[in-house]
């Protein structure tokens, strides 16, 4: 640490002897450190309430709240502050008790000023290190969470596919049974039975629910990996056009503007076009859904060494921060059940990972959302 940083240390000097305080303060000021002063433990704690501090130099022997109690109070509410204790010559035990209570170190009076300055610098360095450690911990926790999330999504993907398969069979039986009952109720002999309408209504609800369940299993299974790989050299432009064509009605209804910022030469990727169509469909569908009338969708492509980067950006409602971590989870949705299953992005994530691609999202509530897809470039040499 160099001299320049010394005046950045926020310093509080606590001692009941005014003469001692001003002498020490003057000497510290000469060395580029300007301490705030307090005459007892209570004043010290009051100041800390209002003003953030890095290092407190604290006399142990004071009237009112003792130095050790003050230290304990500081450590309880201001964990990051480092405290240097000043003890009387004979009271070494005070110093030891102080360190147990969380003091950085202790110095015995009379104080050698260079010694004190060094201690202050060390204490401040300690704060900096702790801060860095904290940051690293947070970063690692975040990274770990992200890794776990990916793993979790992959195994969830495998399981959901299996479940969807299994559900389709009983669903088909329910479907045939309901259809059969409906047929029977429609025969001439049944037209006059009592409460026929009630039965028909019940069957109608069953049929509607079968359709709904079918939509869910369909989403889950629509992307099942094909037996033989159909990865191919694919231009994403026609796929984008095709997908927008399927959404044409909604786009017209909302008068959504599509901005193309596409580089014509750069769009050949190594993917499975069938799955890619589903990815684009789910992303564009979300964008359209997030937009009000006259909103816009911007499609951008660019390239890095290995990837083609496609961005799908809307200026719609945006995604609140607390939801950003959940949107790729299966069944997470903010839409009503007939508007969304909550599987769209889950499937997108699954497909993109299986294509060795990456997906990222940035969003601001009220401003809009941008999904960024990175897909492996088509490279003749490694095929």
């Amino acid at each position: 640490m160099n001299k320049l940083d010394d005046d950045k240390i926020r310093l509080l000097l606590v001692d009941d002897e005014e003469g001692f305080r001003s002498t020490i303060s003057k000497r510290l000021t000469k060395r580029g450190m300007k301490p705030v002063q307090a005459s007892d433990g209570k004043e010290c704690l009051d100041i800390l309430e209002k003003e953030p501090m890095d290092v407190v130099i604290l006399d142990v022997k004071m009237p009112g709240i003792s130095g050790i109690d003050t230290l304990k109070a500081i450590k309880q509410t201001h964990k990051k502050i480092q405290v240097i204790l000043l003890t009387g010559n004979v009271a070494i035990t005070d110093g030891i008790e102080g360190i147990k209570a969380g003091a950085f170190d202790y110095l015995t009076k009379p104080v050698e000023i260079d010694h004190l300055v060094n201690k202050i610098k060390q204490a401040f360095e300690m704060i900096r290190l702790e801060k860095e450690k904290q940051k690293e911990l947070e970063y690692r926790a975040k990274l770990e969470k992200k890794m776990i999330d990916t793993d979790r999504l992959v195994s969830l993907g495998t399981m959901s596919t299996g479940i969807a398969h299994e559900i389709n069979n009983p669903l088909a039986i329910i479907n045939e049974s309901a259809g059969f009952m409906k047929y029977i109720l429609g025969t001439p002999e049944m037209l006059k039975i009592p409460r026929r309408d009630a039965l028909m209504m019940g069957i109608g609800k069953i049929e509607k629910s079968i359709k709904r369940a079918g939509r869910i299993t369909h989403q889950l299974l629509g992307h099942v990996k094909k037996q033989e790989s159909t990865l191919s050299e694919t231009d994403i432009m026609p796929l984008l056009h095709e997908t927008l064509g399927l959404l044409e009605k909604d786009i017209k209804d909302k008068q959504i503007k599509i901005n193309w910022e596409i580089d014509k030469k750069k769009n050949i990727v190594w993917i499975d076009p069938y799955q890619m169509r589903q990815v684009l469909m789910n992303l564009l569908n979300n964008a359209v859904h997030a937009l009000k009338e006259n909103g816009s969708i911007t499609l951008t492509t660019s390239e890095s060494n290995d990837d083609i980067i496609l961005e799908i950006k809307d200026n719609g409602i945006g995604i609140p921060k607390e939801n950003l971590g959940k949107i790729f989870d299966p069944f997470f949705t903010t839409k009503s059940f007939d508007e969304g299953t909550g599987l769209g992005l889950f499937v997108v994530h699954k497909i993109v990972s299986s294509l060795n691609g990456k997906i990222d999202v940035t969003s601001k509530v009220g401003k809009g959302t941008c999904f960024q897809l990175r897909l492996p470039k088509y490279d003749k040499s490694n095929k």
């Binding site: 969807a164 069979n169 669903l171 045939e176 299993t217 369909h218 629509g222 099942v224």
Partner: protein, 146 residues
């Protein structure tokens, strides 16, 4: 218009499905036979005249695709409609290459089933008609040779 019943064979290891589905088709006026495995299906085909087979792709033992191959080898004019869980679309497409007429996803829409069934039956009739004519021509030609 009087409906000519189609002779349908339903093949699926899901017994409840086979039961309800055949009840429904029977009520529609079709003539329905059932089987719960590929082997059983082939046995039925040996003894009963069938227009269209509705065949589940995923069955234990001899699976749908193997069964399809056998049917097409032994009874080439019989049409086959494949039934699939959504995920096995690719298998369904493979099945089409092997000569299946069409495929349906479970749970299937009954109107869809009826249309596909009707079309499959039509194609089988046409096919038979063509064969008959060809045989007739052959017969005429050989008798002219005499």
């Amino acid at each position: 218009m009087i409906k000519i019943p189609a002779k349908v064979l339903i093949v699926d290891d899901e017994k409840d499905f086979v039961e309800m589905f055949s009840l429904r088709l029977t009520e529609q006026g079709e003539k329905v036979s059932t089987a719960h495995s590929g082997k059983e299906a082939l046995k039925v085909l040996e003894t009963v005249a069938i227009d269209v087979v509705i065949l589940d792709i995923r069955m234990p033992g001899m699976d749908g695709i193997d069964t399809l191959k056998q049917i097409k080898a032994l009874h080439p004019v019989v049409e086959v409609i494949l039934l699939t869980g959504h995920g096995s679309t690719e298998t369904a497409v493979e099945g089409m290459k092997l000569g299946a007429f069409d495929y349906l996803m479970k749970p299937a829409d009954f109107e869809d089933i009826k249309i596909k069934l009707e079309n499959a039956r039509k194609r089988k009739d046409e096919q038979e008609e063509r064969i008959r004519k060809a045989e007739l021509r052959l017969l005429l030609r050989s008798s002219g040779d005499l």
